[in-house]
């Protein structure tokens, strides 16, 4: 049986969440490893929310928001960018591989990009293995 990572995707209500919707409407396939959490803006996401995901058992976290300049709240995605940079530095000290956190801009019309991002990120996490140590025999 193939090991399937647990991935949390924080999606901004106005762009990436709508992008995920477009992916669904367009019947683009993406792995079931992704659990979407809708937030009003990526600027709402705090480093502790990401660390909480890792603590609760996530193997990877994606933060998906509007393209720069398109934020519904003017500069929420810019705040998100600086907070993600901070989180990456903290993860490095904690010993969590930085590749387990991804920040990407996906607009409402980019359903294909959403599906592709989900697929690629799942592959990255699959190659890194579970965060809680090596997978059991036959998991991967």
């Amino acid at each position: 049986m193939t090991w399937l990572p647990k991935i949390i995707a924080f999606c901004c209500n106005w762009c990436a969440y709508a992008g995920a919707d477009t992916a669904g409407l367009s019947r683009f396939q993406y792995p079931p490893s992704i659990r979407i959490l809708r937030v009003m803006c990526t600027g709402r996401i705090e480093p502790s929310m990401i660390l909480n995901c890792f603590e609760q058992g996530a193997d990877g976290v994606m933060v998906l928001g509007c393209h720069p300049g398109d934020c519904h709240y003017i500069s929420g995605n810019e705040s998100a960018k600086s907070r993600i940079e901070m989180t990456l530095e903290i993860m490095e000290i904690l010993g969590i591989d930085k590749r387990r956190l991804l920040l990407k801009w996906i607009s409402a019309s980019e359903g294909a990009l959403f599906a592709e991002t989900a697929k690629d990120f799942t592959e990255v996490i699959r190659s890194l293995g579970p965060l809680r140590g090596e997978p059991q025999d036959g998991q991967r």
Partner: protein, 378 residues
């Protein structure tokens, strides 16, 4: 409420003298808060104890340091938190990030990498008998980036000072949070997990003494670890105290600068919890003129945010008062020995300045200041 467990801190011996409430920095600000009345309320079975005041206490220990009857009020408060942890929640700062750092540090499957501060000009050794415990300073450097303070200078300065007295310390490749905040928040399970992992790492390294520059790490390793794990196989020493002794005995020479004048903010864990009071003053007197603040030594005030609880406009006012108190002594710089005090006091000043104020007062760490004054014949 498990009364027997909290009475072990001697609360029945309270003679109602009121010294604790006179000295308590929280009582100065909040009329409703008084260590004495909390003790009294508990003894007559008032359930009010389970409210907010449980988290208002900064556990600085001023009350206990001055108590005639040896009531350990701050320890009692910690136990109340422990017993009531599910009934009231504290006002946590920074989105609870420090709690998650502690939580993730406690995972045996993660191997933290905390050596990002090492630089080529300092000497560490792999087989030294002394080990430098760094604590959460590398995290502060990331989270308080906006303050423009290089917190990583502190561990570097610590090694420089140790090098100056002939010690090349070893450092742990994978070090975890000491558990101080979790202990004082009453979160014993997580504390034991963190302490157990640290003890295992220290003991397997074979170090005979552990040196800490952070007063919180010092008081936790020195006094709290033995309470849970019995006597330790190694000695715990505080770098500020070591420096004070080394300056006195002439082992450490610091260059004096008559234009330099300082005042000292006693961190709670150093002065009141560990009784290290004179040593930092000896260091500061060796490098320049020293001025004492009215509230100092055992009656020094806390920086306001213990265990990352209750950081608000009220605490900020408290911190700004402290900076004004330091400025009024005529000293050119406020010196502290705790990275967290440095962060909190600097943050208050940063926020004040961002509101249009432009006056800045130097707030510096004692280790960084002393390391810059090491006498060199080269």
């Amino acid at each position: 409420m498990d009364k027997d467990r909290i009475e072990e801190y001697g609360i029945r011996q309270c003679i109602d003298c009121g010294k604790c409430s006179w000295a308590c920095p929280v009582s100065h600000r909040e009329n409703d808060f008084s260590p004495r009345s909390i003790v009294e309320n508990l003894l007559v079975g008032d359930k009010k104890l389970l409210g907010r005041e449980m988290w208002d206490c900064v556990t600085c220990g001023t009350c206990s340091a001055l108590c005639n009857s040896n009531v350990k009020f701050h320890e009692f408060m910690r136990t109340v938190r422990k017993l009531s942890v599910e009934r009231a929640s504290p006002m946590i700062t920074h989105g609870d990030i420090f709690n998650f750092i502690s939580l993730l540090s406690s995972k045996p499957y993660l191997r933290p990498r905390t050596l990002n501060w090492l630089s080529p000009d300092i000497k560490v050794s792999e087989d030294s008998r002394a080990l430098l415990f760094v604590g959460c300073t590398p995290y502060l450097n990331i989270i308080f980036k906006n303050l423009n303070i290089d917190f990583l200078q502190i561990p570097r300065a610590a090694v420089k000072l140790l090098n100056a007295v002939g010690i090349e310390p070893r450092v742990l490749e994978s070090e975890r949070c000491c558990g101080h905040d979790q202990y004082w928040l009453g979160n014993d399970d997580l504390f034991i997990q963190l302490a157990g992992l640290n003890l295992k790492a220290i003991e397997s390294s074979g170090a005979e003494e552990v040196i800490t520059f952070c007063p919180e790490c010092y008081s936790t390793l020195k006094f709290v670890y033995p309470r849970f794990f019995g006597s330790l196989d190694f000695e715990v020493r505080n770098l500020t105290a070591m420096m004070g002794d080394a300056v006195d005995s002439g082992v450490l020479s610091l260059t004096e600068d008559s234009s330099l004048s300082t005042t000292f903010h006693d961190p709670c864990r150093l002065a009141k919890h560990s009784n290290i009071i004179e040593e930092p003053r000896r260091v500061l007197r060796a490098i320049g003129r020293f001025f004492e603040m009215p509230r100092s030594r055992h009656t020094s005030v806390c920086c306001g945010v213990a265990s990352w609880v209750n950081c608000d406009s009220w605490t900020k006012r408290w911190q700004l008062e402290r900076i004004e108190e330091a400025r009024a002594t005529g000293a050119g710089a406020l010196v502290t020995a705790c990275p967290k005090c440095l962060a909190h006091l600097s943050c208050a000043q940063y926020e004040k300045n961002s509101c249009g104020e432009s006056r800045r007062f130097d707030i510096v760490d004692i280790h960084v200041l002393a390391a810059s004054r090491i006498f060199s014949t080269e």
